[in-house]
Structure formats: structure tokens, C-alpha cells
Amino acid sequence: MDKNIYEPVKCSVTEVITESPSIKTVVLKPEKEFSFLAGQFASLTVPGVGEAPFTPSSSPFDREKLEFTVMKAGRVTDEIHNLKKGDNVGVRGPYGKPYPLDYFKGKEILLVGGGVGLAPLRALFFALMETAENYKRIVFCCGAKTPEDYIYKDKILGEWHNFCDKFPLSFRITVDKKCPDWKHGEGVVTKTLDGLDVDIKNSVAVVCGPPIMMKFTTLKLLEIGYEDSQVYLSMERKMYCGVGHCRHCLIGDLFVCKDGPVFTYDQLKGKPNIWI
């Protein structure tokens, strides 16, 4: 008897962390092993309420826990924000194609994240750091609307900089609108691409954030010399099944759930309504 593709793995909530006024991280302990590769997503079920797709933000190498950083945006995410320690949720997956880390080997990796887009990039960042010697260099560009809206703030502004001693890693940090004690840059995240000293011919750019941010970041990357095939985008669409049956997530003929969610820009060009 085939396993029911819609039956989730039961998880218990071990912690809920408030990252910003609209974003929380739920930390889960799956009942049985649930592993994923950076870039893949899972469908999180709040029993009796609904499901929504999220890319885990925890390290793919973490066997103890599974973390999802979720913005409050609608019916299901409202309920996710109401979760408390001890509550049960379901997770099914992992689905989709992961970031091609083998292809990234030896290259200079440019990560560009905006707002809650930093969540999938966190998982990728940990995956890269785990085998850091494989990559030539990592430049992590981060943006958010205001300092208050920054997720993983103490890590991005503090703890992760410790990696910079052992490895060619640098951060370029900005906010759209700063506050008095903000010590870093001001401006939209595309501004961090000004004066970028990356060997573009031997680089890949991984972009994640709201559609409008991904659009302008892509245009800026092409402007400074990246090819369409070097720009990796995490696309989002309405999802239900996650396995290519219900057809809600199509961008043209491409399923965000099984052909993506990570696409290179050359795959997307020519498809209808790329940027929502």
C-alpha cells in the first residue's frame, strides 16, 4: 500500500521566538526524522486550520530541530503565530529542488536577502558554512525595512561575523529607514550591490525576499554584469499539494513546487507574470 502523500509527520512545538513585530520563528521537534536540503521547502499543517509552504530556516545538518520563520500574512500564518510550546503541527515534504551546492563549489557566492527572505538564506548560509572550504568566498547582503524588522538581528549584526575570522566572508548590511543608533548602511538592499568587489565571472547570486525586491535586485545584478543563468531566485506562488498535481503554483509551465522553488533567471524569462 503506497504511503499517503498528504499524511504529514507530526511535530511538537518546542519554542516560539519573536523575531520582529510581524515575524516569528517556530522551533519544531519532528516525531520521526525529517531531513531536507537547503532550498527545499515543506508544507506546514496547523491541524484543522490549513497548510502553507515554508522553506526551513534551520541548518539542514541540525538533526535535533526544524525551524520555520513565518511572517503573519493571512489565515494560516495568523494561527501559526498563535502556536505555543507543546502544540502539535504537521510537516510534509521536503519538496522541490535544492540549491545546487556542487555547482557552487569554487565560486564566489553572493547572498542577497530582504526581510523575511533572510529565512531560507539562513539555512543556505549554514549549509555553506558547514563545508566552507568548498567555496571561494561568501558575501552576504542583508536588507530590511527598519532595524526593528530585522530577523536574526543579533546573529546578522553580531554572532555570524565570528565566521569572518576563519573564512572569506563579509556582510553588507542596510535598512530602508534607519533609527538613531543604527551603525550600518541606509537604503534599499540593492544599494549594497554598489561597489561590489566580487569576481562576477566566477560567481553566483542567490536572491530571496519580497517579489519587488527580487525584481529590482535581479535587474541590478544583470546591470553589474551577472548573466541570467547566474541569478538564483526563490519563487513563491499559492500552493496546496506541493507535488505537482493541483497546478496552483505554475509560473507558465514551471511548477514552483517541483521544478523550483529555486530557479535561475534564464528559466523564468518569457514566462507570464513572473513578478507578482
Binding site: 503506497d2 499517503n4 502523500i5 498528504y6 499524511e7 499543517t45 496547523v46 491541524p47 484543522g48 486550520v49 490549513g50 497548510e51 502553507a52 500574512a73 493571512g74 489565515r75 494560516v76 500564518t77 502544540d87 502539535n88 517579489p211 513563491e236 506562488r237 499559492k238 496546496y240 499539494c241 507535488v243 505537482g244 498535481h245 493541483c246 497546478r247 496552483h248 505554475l250 509560473i251 507558465g252 509551465d253 518569457g270 507570464p272 507574470n273 507578482i276
Partner: protein
């Protein structure tokens, strides 16, 4: 690639004997067939009381074959138990062709739908030739003939005093068994069938004289909103979902969670890409905010995306989307005009 024609086993049975045969079967297994209700064909359960009402070989019924395999609303967690064996008679060629899309979606090797494969195995499909196509039928324009050629268990073609019975599968063979009322069809009977079929093909082509879908592959890339404002009928779409409900190949569904943390269930329900909420995301953003984008999307899915996904066209020419359209839109006219417009750009 050279087309290899495998000669299918074709039997002949007299109408009277067939009626007796099917009356007997209806006592063993639930049987569904098209029945005339005030001039329109609908699927009905048939048994000893009404088997004589079966409308053989006229045209497609209102309901698509998918209705038996993909219920409008179906629980997936936990999966449905006790799916019965049934026989569905009267599947027109357009619906049988549509099965190919349904199979490619739900019999996916990596992720099999929990209920579809069971229903598929337990449904015996008996196709019918069409002899009286509707004015909305256009199967020939999309490479489908008004008579099933493959992908059925059995096909019936009415002939003088009886019918030709094509055996498509082992399952179909077993259904007939070694019943002595069936004989091998003669060469003359087959030839007469060829001739009648040809006439129906001609009738369909005649009905579709004013529409041109020869260059339908040009619809690839034709997604601009402005393009779909050109045919005046498009604005009459009221997003009722009739086209998607009745289409033999529309498969879109949404998932609904019910219950609570202790006991919950998940249900699959038909959805329509015409609905504004279909692709709309939590914070309100939608890739197809305009009615024109949504109208175009269904046709682009049938004639572009599904071809890229499955290698075959998503449209089988049944015409239900035309016959059932609340806005009285004839999509053949819309497509003809859109293709003409892309030519000029």
C-alpha cells in the same frame, strides 16, 4: 516515427443480445450510461428497469468522465476506503483522450494520488462512437476523432441490427468473457463503420469551418493582457467556473483542513483558475489580477503549459466549455482572433 497499427480484436453482437447481456451485468456491478433527459444526455445509473433508455452512440454526455475518477469533493487524509468497482458506458472519444491527462497528473510515479489509482483500476470504461456531434464539438481541430481508438476497455459502435465491440484491454476481454452471443466482426462490418465514421468527421469539420486553430502552437508566449482584450467576448466571462468544472482535463483542486488538533481531516475540492482567489496569496498579491489574465490562463494552460508538462494537448475538443459558458463565449472564435492578432505583432 513509424506508426505501428495493432489490429484490435473486434466482435459483433446483435442489439437484442447486447441488451440482454448488459441487463444481466447491471445486476452484478453498478453501471452508468448516458440517458436522454429532455433532449440532453446525462449519466444515469442503469439497471434492469431502465437499461433500454441508454442513448447509444449519439454524442458526449454533459458530465465529463473525470466525474467518476475525481469527485468534486473527496477526502484525502485519511484516504477513502471501500471504493467500488463500477462500469461507465458512453465515454466519448474526447473524454477518453482526456483520461491521458488525468493519468499523467495523478498516476505520477513519485507521488501517487491516494484515491485516483484505486478508482481508475476499479472503473471499467466502455467508449461510444459519436454519430450526432453538437455544433460546439471540435475534436478534429485538436487531433481527436469522434470515435475512440485506444485507451478504453471496450468500445461500442452501433451498426445495422447490432454493434461492433472493440476489446481494448484484458479487463475488457474478461468483461465479455466467453459469452457465446459475441462473434468476430466481419471485414464488411468494419468497412461500413469506417464509412460512417468518415461522415461524422466531415460533419465536425463542416461545423468548424469559420474557426482556424491550425497554428495553435503560436499561442505559446501569447500571454500579454492587452492581447486578450482584443476579442470582445472575453469581458463577458463571469468567472462561474462552468468551463473548468465540465472540462475533461481540468484537474485543479484546493485542499481544505477540517477538525482540530486531536482529530483532523484533509479534503480535496475542485478549484477554478478563473476564480480571482485561485492564485491569490496571503497578503493579497496575485500573478493574475485581471479577468483577462485569468481567462487567458485557462487556454494557455490547455494549449501551452500542458503540452510542455505532458507532451500532449490539454484540450480534447469536447466543447463543454463553449456549451456551458454562462457568458456565451465561444472560445474557438476567441482563439481564432487571438492567433490572428499574434500574427500581426
Amino acid at each position: 516515427m513509424k506508426k505501428i497499427t495493432i489490429t484490435m480484436e473486434t466482435l459483433y453482437v446483435s442489439k437484442k443480445e447486447w441488451d440482454g447481456f448488459i441487463k444481466g451485468k447491471s445486476g452484478d456491478i453498478p453501471l452508468f450510461a448516458p440517458v436522454d433527459n429532455l433532449g440532453t444526455l446525462f449519466y444515469n445509473r442503469v439497471d434492469a428497469s431502465n437499461y433500454a433508455d441508454i442513448a447509444y452512440n449519439r454524442a458526449r454526455p454533459v458530465e465529463p468522465l473525470k466525474m467518476f475518477l475525481l469527485p468534486f469533493k473527496e477526502r484525502v487524509v485519511p484516504s477513502v476506503e471501500d471504493i467500488p468497482d463500477i462500469v461507465v458506458m458512453g465515454a466519448a472519444a474526447c473524454d477518453i483522450q482526456g483520461l491521458k491527462i488525468l493519468d499523467r497528473v495523478f498516476l505520477d510515479a513519485d507521488y501517487k494520488d491516494p484515491n485516483y489509482s484505486t478508482r481508475r483500476e476499479k472503473t471499467l470504461i466502455i467508449g461510444f462512437d459519436c454519430s450526432s456531434p453538437y455544433s460546439t464539438c471540435f475534436c478534429e481541430l485538436v487531433g481527436v476523432h469522434p470515435y475512440p481508438e485506444d485507451n478504453f476497455d471496450i468500445n461500442l459502435s452501433l451498426c445495422e441490427d447490432g454493434m461492433l465491440v472493440d476489446i481494448g484491454t484484458e479487463k475488457g476481454r474478461r468483461f465479455i468473457g466467453s459469452d457465446q452471443r459475441f462473434f468476430e466482426a466481419s471485414g464488411e462490418q468494419r468497412q461500413k463503420r469506417e464509412a460512417s465514421r468518415k461522415k461524422v468527421v466531415e460533419a465536425i469539420n463542416e461545423n468548424n469551418r469559420s474557426f482556424d486553430m491550425k497554428k495553435i502552437e503560436k499561442i505559446k508566449g501569447a500571454y500579454q493582457t492587452e492581447l486578450w482584450k482584443v476579442p470582445k467576448e472575453v469581458e463577458n466571462c463571469v468567472q462561474c467556473g462552468s468551463c473548468t468544472n465540465n472540462c475533461p482535463t481540468c484537474v485543479c483542486f484546493f485542499l481544505e483542513d477540517t477538525g482540530n488538533a486531536e482529530k483532523s481531516a484533509k479534503t480535496k475540492v475542485w478549484d477554478s483558475c478563473l476564480f480571482p482567489g485561485y492564485a491569490r496569496m496571503a497578503a493579497g498579491a496575485s500573478p493574475r489580477p485581471s479577468l483577462y489574465d485569468r481567462y487567458a490562463n485557462r487556454l494557455l494552460c490547455k494549449y501551452w503549459y500542458m503540452i510542455d508538462n505532458f507532451g500532449i494537448t490539454g484540450c480534447t475538443g469536447c466543447g463543454r466549455c463553449i456549451a456551458g459558458c454562462a457568458g456565451k463565449i465561444d472560445k474557438r472564435a476567441v482563439i481564432t482572433e487571438v492567433l490572428r492578432e499574434t500574427d500581426t505583432r
